[in-house]
Amino acid sequence: MPDTPFIQDGSNSGMLDDLCWPDDDLTRIPDWIYTSKAILERERERIFLGKCWNYVALEAEFDEIGSFKRSYVGDVPVIVTRNDEDEWKVFENRCAHRGVEFCRESRGKAKEFICPYHHWTYDISGKLIAVPFRRGDKGKGGMPEDFNMEEYNPRQFRVARRNGVVFATLSDATETLEEYLGPETLEQFDVVFSGRELKVLGYYRNRLSGNWKLYHENLKDPYHATLLHVYLATFRLMVAGQKSAMICDAVGRHATAASAKDDSIEIDDRMVDEMKGAFRVGMDLNDEDFTRYVPEFDSPWTVTMSTIWPNLIVQRELNTLGIRHIVPRGPHALDMYWTMFGYVGDTEEMTKHRMKQGNLMGPSGYLGVDDNEAIKFLQDGFKRSIPSEGVVKLDPEKEGGTDTLISEASIRSLYRHYREVMGL
């Protein structure tokens, strides 16, 4: 989209050193963390390329040796491959010569990658194997004598896999994936990724008009669920008073919003009044089968939305399952890459049920649209109003996990961690 000079974008032109968290207070979040380019650059360096495991792919997308997928670590383009030795490789999608993003196909099979510009060639493991006319032509031109191809390999990431999900980290200091997730997040992760073989059912992508952190906050904010999402309350998928929890790791960066659908809860007049406009009296679904949960998991919860720092959301809403992969696009936007999946061995009826319930989520979802719009409304606020700060005071005694929907405790734990890593 063209940058037109008259549009306010709220970008903070000051240096990072000028930015100071208001009164060192976790219940306040300054607007500049969502609008500053300098902040985003530090996030790239310290978070995405720092001591974090980033989601890059599902193994189910690589049906054979030699398969590859374009992906991202933060906003850095990478290629994920399964090489001839059946090893998993993740390396930067950038030619060492002039910077060309040389792999252009979303997914496919390859023996090698040839940069189209000057045909520098990389093998499937990401090693530079050929530089045309390295010795020149007829004694003229060519690379200097001391040119060493090994010094020009793309940056390699370390890879960790768990039950079909592929992660990458650039740092040698990142702990094991299991330590990184922590037992609380691992337990929820393993419900969906239990070792059952996954089957990819399709992809969506959308560009959200908001800072990437707002997506994490949205799912760490159960308070909005029964208010913004009129659909959830009206059709009894989630109402205040039903069994629900925010399950956090000890560090406070990951969280799982969990809830169990409970058809026995009476919505009385007091609750309708408290929910203001968020409950539509007298609406029923024409297709009652739509919200039916087919039991398939060893879990007390019918919905778990896990935010795995920094770039992964695992969606389990009834029987619709999906990966959401966050790719920041400047301070004011993020691209969301959705990979919807089921399991190998699903009956045709089960696949159809997953497709039907897919209407809940995604860029056209009954719930998805609400969140995408709310995130845009937030960013519009940061961009257009006088820079200020937000308030996250709900459930003041807690930080991290909690057992009420009316809480912002896990947003606060995230920002405690974030501030440490970012030095803010």
Partner: protein, 173 residues
């Protein structure tokens, strides 16, 4: 899923194809007008009671992957989508304009199903933004004639080229 058998679909003679193309163009013009006006309650009336409707990315269609941003089968699901748009979904006001062109009558079969395609373009205007192209795609349709002889959609697959959706997609195409 429960796709109807169209293995005996055969091309039509030119003299049959011409009038049918005009009839489908009229159908699509009215369909676009209803969407432009956001008269959502009228939208399901273009479909049979057992119709299938899906909006999906071209990459899914090309790879035979089943997901849809919107995936509806049967009138009840259409009515629930309309009810959600009108009553529960939260989104900023917008104007959408639909341009449906290049109607191609692919063929017909013994059961009376007509296979047709068309290109579509949706232009979106948010209240304080510039007008932009929201989505380019094509319809792959199966029409049938109702008891009154009018065309109805038995199936409409909306396959979009614009893989990266700007923010979200509140309305069907």
């Amino acid at each position: 899923m429960t796709a109807p058998d169209i293995s005996d679909m055969a091309p039509l003679l030119a003299e049959e194809r011409g009038p049918l193309r005009l009839e489908i163009e009229d159908f699509n013009t009215e369909y676009a007008a209803v969407l432009d006006a956001q008269e959502m309650k009228r939208w399901p009336t273009f479909f049979t009671g057992d119709a299938f409707y899906r909006i999906t990315a071209r990459e899914n269609f090309d790879e035979g992957l089943p997901v849809g941003l919107v995936w509806l089968e049967g009138e009840a699901m259409f009515l629930d989508r309309v009810a959600a748009i009108e009553n529960t979904m939260v989104f900023a006001p917008r104007y959408l304009r639909h341009y449906i062109t290049n109607v191609n009558v692919v063929g017909a079969n013994a059961a009376g199903l007509i296979s047709a395609e068309a290109n579509y373009l949706v232009v979106e205007t948010l209240m304080e933004d510039e007008t932009k192209i929201f989505q380019a795609g094509c319809y792959k349709d199966l029409f049938v004639r109702g008891e009154d002889g009018d065309l109805k959609l038995k199936s409409r697959d909306c396959i979009y080229d614009s893989l990266l959706i700007p923010n979200d997609m509140a309305f069907p195409v």
